[in-house]
């Protein structure tokens, strides 16, 4: 694979290519393939780095997961969390992108810059800002709206509070993506629709949405992957509490692995999350394809 000489390539190019490709392959083997393999093997073991245990358990870790209430609770939290945040991210993102894109708005890049700002700021710091905003006494949330809610200590409010923060942080990404999608739409389709006297809604429904579909799919899939892995917000804002109301899958894996040091059990859970991610990604491909 590496030594096949191509007629169009000079000697120095072949050398460069071989070095680069070899380096890439070595890197991905050492830091991806081997770790994934180790995690897979480890998921069938009792694996504790503190006591140095590495004992074969067979399927016990997986069996334990299926009877582990906290795992199921965190999985359902993760699905609710991802679903709600993605709906708002995509919905808001699309609505705002369309608004900025419309002829009525000047200073388009100013608005885009504004909405994208939270996306680039570090999650740990932003989570602290929101933790203070949710503070029952000094927090802005209660001050502005005249409420008296202990957002993060109330098991009904804590997960929505984390979702709200995540939507605030992330919807700007969808705005930028959808605006890029809108600008890449073929102009002639719109002009043809104008000539045919299509209403704005018809244009939106029958031209914009179908043409934007690949971009919507892209945003949905990257969001699924991102939210299944979300844990920093939880770690900073609630640490899974109150009770278990804000345990998300990635947080429980972090907790099992680096608080309790059950590496084997945590690896088994992480593999299940891996499969869940793959299935959801595949599903979103299917759904968007079948509608078209």
């Amino acid at each position: 694979m590496l030594n096949k000489n191509h007629p169009l390539q000079s000697k120095s190019e072949v050398i460069l290519r071989n070095i680069v490709v070899t380096a890439m392959i070595i890197y991905f083997i050492v830091f991806l393939i081997i770790p994934i393999g180790t995690a897979f093997v480890g998921s069938f073991h009792e694996w504790n780095p503190l006591s140095g245990t590495f004992r074969l358990l067979g399927l016990d870790n997986y069996r334990k997961i299926f009877t582990d209430n906290l795992f199921w609770k965190s999985l359902s939290n993760t699905i609710v969390f991802s679903f709600v945040v993605i709906i708002f991210r995509v919905g808001f993102g699309l609505a705002i992108a369309l608004a900025i894109y419309s002829k009525m708005i000047k200073h388009k890049s100013f608005f885009r810059m504004l909405y994208y700002m939270p996306v680039v700021t570090p999650m740990v710091a932003v989570a602290y800002v929101w933790k203070f905003m949710y503070h029952p006494q000094i927090g802005t949330m209660n001050q502005i709206f005249g409420l008296n809610v202990n957002w993060l200590m109330n098991s009904k409010m804590a997960l929505p509070a984390i979702m709200l923060m995540t939507i605030w942080k992330d919807f700007g990404y969808a705005v930028v993506m959808f605006m890029a999608g809108l600008y890449s739409l073929p102009k002639d389709a719109m002009e043809a629709a104008d000539v045919d006297g299509a209403s704005p809604w018809q244009k939106f429904r029958y031209i914009t949405i179908p043409l934007l579909k690949p971009m919507i799919l892209f945003v949905v899939i990257t969001s699924i992957i991102a939210y299944i892995q979300a844990y920093v917000q939880v770690l900073i804002l609630t640490e899974g509490g109150p009770g278990t109301s804000t345990f998300l899958s990635s947080y429980i894996i972090f907790d099992e692995a680096f608080v309790k040091y059950n590496f084997g059990f945590a690896s088994a859970m992480s593999f299940i999350m891996f499969v869940v991610t793959a299935v959801l990604t595949w599903l979103s491909f299917r759904v968007t394809r079948s509608k078209g």
Binding site: P35, T38, P122, F132, Q143, M215, S270
Partner: protein, 273 residues
């Protein structure tokens, strides 16, 4: 007339939304200039009544924040430079050089972006222990040297470089490295700018990995430092606001300066991808 009203309303809505988006930053920043009694007061004002720099000045008494800050800058800049270089050269090779298994390799690189961190992190942590890289920046820098996302973006970016330019340089007698460094690298400016900003932000933002592999307090990075600080001085709100502001402001400044390249880069890579 109706159009004008609509346009006005739309602008107002977008502005209000923009205000909601920036409000937390403004609130944090202005609170960092208030003294603690004002922060804890029942009636609050957005702007400080008494402007004070004490939160920033006293912060370093509790915690060596300047140190964390410098550590974070050093690590993030190092990783960013390495990743920008490896992404450009790998993306270029994958785009312009034909070889067997190229599609497979690229597909594999795309697939790596889908792998959740939690699958990799436990074995990677054990690996760092075996390599003896714990509590060293090697553990942060070396496993981050190649980026699937970066390679993907720079491959898309290289598609814009016409083959004729490369051919012409070859006829002029340039070797592959010269072509890459003198022609491809400068021509990939925009892509490099956006991947650099991304990588810098990610490294700056990363919490879990430095938290796991760095133990000495004086080597710790800002994001972990922020959490340690919060754990220990949970009631000194003024200092907490100041510390949080310090870890957000550099990022916002970089964003303000480079936002054009940044947004153009990310959007372009997705449209093509």
């Amino acid at each position: 007339m109706r159009k004008k009203v609509n346009s006005f309303l739309l602008r107002i809505i977008l502005l209000i939304l923009g205000l909601i988006v920036v409000y937390p930053f403004i609130w944090m920043l202005s609170s960092s200039f208030k003294n603690n009694s004002e922060i804890n007061a029942l009636k609050q004002t957005l702007l400080p009544k008494v402007f004070t720099l004490n939160n920033y000045l006293n912060m370093n008494e509790h915690f060596d924040f300047v140190r964390f800050f410098i550590n974070s800058i050093l690590v993030a800049v190092t990783v960013t430079i390495i990743v920008a270089y490896t992404s450009t050269i790998c993306g270029y090779v994958l785009c312009k050089y034909k070889f067997k298994g190229r599609k497979l390799l690229f597909g594999f690189i795309l697939a790596t972006m889908m792998i959740p961190w939690c699958v990799i992190i436990i074995p990677k942590y054990s690996m760092m222990k075996v390599f003896g890289w714990m509590d060293s920046y090697k553990a942060i820098i070396i496993p981050a040297m190649f980026s699937g996302f970066g390679i993907f973006m720079m491959k898309q970016n290289s598609e814009n470089i016409p083959d004729e330019i490369i051919e012409a340089a070859k006829i002029d007698g340039a070797n592959a490295l010269q072509i890459f460094h003198r022609i491809i690298f400068p021509m990939s400016r925009n892509g490099i700018a956006s991947i650099s900003i991304f990588q810098f932000l990610w490294t700056w933002d990363d919490f879990l990995w430095p938290y796991l592999v760095i133990q000495s307090k004086d080597k710790q990075l800002l994001s972990v430092g922020l959490r340690m600080f919060n754990g220990q001085y949970a009631t000194d709100y003024g200092a907490l606001f100041a510390a949080t502001a310090i870890s957000i402001i550099p990022v916002l400044v970089i964003y303000m300066i480079f936002q054009k390249q940044f947004i153009a880069g990310i959007a372009a890579s997705a449209v093509k991808g």
